[in-house]
Every structure is written in structure tokens, then in C-alpha cells.
């Protein structure tokens, strides 16, 4: 009887002994999602006087400072105009009339103009800070000695678009 008990003990003990050469592995994939941030905004510009004290069109006006916030590493910006006459000439339209004041525009990055054609994408831009990257949007006007622009309010709608490739 005593022998039987010892044998059973050895048998059970053998089953739980560590195997000397045993090994195992497992892999784990960890994912983290960074939500895309991609927006462009600009404060709505106030109505401005387009004729100066000399009765001529003002030469230039900063319309606003578009701010782009992007965590894409490469993106582009473009500008368009509802009343544009060509790829380089936008127009401000007189209310209730077919009278237009033409303008050219410049989208600047600091002192550098990065865009001056409507509907054309800029060169690739890089990821911005959380506060975004501010540009300058300027309208430039050509004046002459004779044109007397009719009194009233002139409007155009400017569309700022950003896109990744």
C-alpha cells in the first residue's frame, strides 16, 4: 500500500515539473488613433471704403488672415472668387447692377506671396501648430484718372479651400 502511494505521488509530481527546454511567445498589436484636424477659417471682414480721399481706388487692402489648422504633414490651399473674371482677376459686384471693380489678390506667408491665381493650389504646406498657421489675404486695386465708380456696396464671395493629396 505504501509503495502504491509513493508511485502515485511521483507520477503526479512528474506532471507538474517544469520542462527544461520549454518556451513560448505571444504578440500583441497596439493601435492608437490620432483624429485628423483640418480646418480653415477667417474672421468675416468689415465693410471697407474702396475709394480714398483722392477719389481713386485704394491700392491695397488686407481682407483678412486665414488660419489653417492641420495635422496632415502635407496639404495645399487655394482661393476662389464668385465673380472672378479670370484666373488672376476677381471682381467686386455693385448691388443691383452689372458694375464690377476688378482686383488681383495675394495670399501671403509672411512677406512671401504663395498664391495669386484663383482655383490653383499652393505649394505643399506642412503640419501646423495647434493654434494654426496664419496667412495674409490681400486685394489689390488698379486705379485710373477718369473712372468714377458709382456709389453703393460692392461684394464678392471668397472661397478658401484646403486639401491633402
Amino acid at each position: 500500500m505504501k509503495k502504491v502511494i509513493i508511485m502515485l505521488f511521483l507520477a503526479v509530481a512528474a506532471g507538474v515539473l517544469p520542462a527544461f527546454a520549454a518556451n513560448d511567445s505571444a504578440s500583441l498589436t497596439v493601435k492608437a488613433q490620432v483624429t485628423p484636424v483640418f480646418s480653415v477659417n477667417m474672421t468675416e471682414p468689415d465693410t471697407f471704403n474702396i475709394v480714398g480721399n483722392n477719389s481713386r481706388l485704394i491700392p491695397s487692402k488686407q481682407i483678412g488672415s486665414p488660419v489653417v489648422v492641420s495635422n496632415y504633414s502635407s496639404w495645399k490651399i487655394s482661393v476662389d472668387s464668385t465673380h472672378k473674371a479670370s484666373s488672376t482677376t476677381g471682381r467686386l459686384k455693385l448691388d443691383d447692377a452689372e458694375t464690377y471693380i476688378p482686383y488681383s489678390f495675394a495670399l501671403t506667408d509672411g512677406a512671401t506671396t504663395i498664391l495669386s491665381s484663383f482655383g490653383t493650389a499652393s505649394a505643399a504646406q506642412s503640419i501646423t501648430t495647434r493654434g494654426g498657421k496664419a496667412f495674409g489675404l490681400y486685394f489689390n486695386f488698379e486705379s485710373d484718372d477718369t473712372t468714377l465708380w458709382p456709389q453703393g456696396i460692392y461684394r464678392d464671395t471668397v472661397i478658401l479651400a484646403i486639401s491633402t493629396d
Binding site: 480653415v40 475709394v51 486685394f139
Partner: protein, 161 residues
């Protein structure tokens, strides 16, 4: 005790989508052109009519304006009649107004009521208005007009529509 050795392979995957993203923003730009109206007149404070003729041009108004139209009003203090000084006799006349850009605005218009003309068709950048008074010669009246000086006062005003 069985021991398991874990080897963790950690892959960090930045889950930024690879498809193209776009975002648009539009805003209205508004520019104002204020009105300007400059009137230059050759009409004197007094005009003497040539009564040997049936009409006299009393002067011109030159307008430089970017108004979207304007209203011209001419009124007579005596309803289109000159009144003899120190008397009550009347010497009636009519008014003709011609615009260099719009043509005749009034032809032999009686000033028994004020004459008004409102431009249409938008701005009139520059124009010249010529004012002429029409009348009979004193000798054409029967009986003839009493000798004397006949006077009336005309008021010309221009305002935006």
C-alpha cells in the same frame, strides 16, 4: 509551475486616414463707394433776359456725380411769371432743360408747378444741364406789357434718388 515567457511585440500604428481630406470656408467681402456730387454753375445770381428774342440761355450746371441717379427740381417764386417791380403785371415764361447726356429733360415747361426730373438707368457720371427760359417779346403782347423791370426767382436743386 509552468512558466510562460511573454514576448510582446508592440506595433504603434498611427491611424491617420490615407484618403484625401478637404475643408472649405467662404466669406463675403464688402466694399463701399461713398457718394460724390460736385455741381459747378454758370448761372449767375441775376440773369437779364434778352427781350429782343424769344429765349435766353441763363446758364449751365455741370454735374460730376457717382450717385445712382438724381432728382432735379426747379421751382419759381411766382409760379412761372416775372412780376413787375413796384407793380403787379405779370410776364410769363417757360423753362427748357437740356442734358448733355440725357437730351431734353423739359421743353417749354410751365413753372406754375415745380419741375422735377428723376434720372433712371443708374449712375450719370458726368453731365451738363443747360437752362433756357422761353417767353414772348414784350411787343408780341396785346396790349403791350407795361414798361419796367420784371423779376422772378428760380431755385434749382439736385438730390440723390
Amino acid at each position: 509551475m509552468k512558466k510562460f515567457a511573454f514576448v510582446a511585440i508592440v506595433s504603434l500604428i498611427l491611424a491617420v486616414p490615407t484618403f484625401a481630406a478637404t475643408s472649405n470656408f467662404s466669406t463675403e467681402v464688402k466694399a463701399a463707394v461713398d457718394y460724390t456730387l460736385t455741381v459747378t454753375s454758370t448761372i449767375g445770381t441775376q440773369s437779364v433776359l434778352d427781350t429782343t428774342k424769344n429765349s435766353t440761355e441763363i446758364g449751365k450746371l455741370s454735374l460730376v456725380s457717382n450717385l445712382n441717379g438724381y432728382k432735379l427740381t426747379v421751382t419759381s417764386a411766382n409760379s412761372g411769371k416775372m412780376i413787375r417791380q413796384s407793380g403787379t403785371e405779370q410776364y410769363p415764361y417757360t423753362l427748357t432743360v437740356t442734358s448733355s447726356t440725357l437730351g431734353a429733360l423739359a421743353t417749354a415747361h410751365s413753372l406754375s408747378t415745380a419741375f422735377t426730373y428723376t434720372t433712371t438707368g443708374g449712375a450719370q457720371p458726368a453731365s451738363e444741364l443747360t437752362f433756357t427760359l422761353n417767353y414772348l417779346k414784350p411787343t408780341e403782347y396785346t396790349p403791350m406789357l407795361t414798361a419796367g423791370v420784371y423779376v422772378d426767382t428760380l431755385t434749382v436743386s439736385i438730390e440723390s434718388n
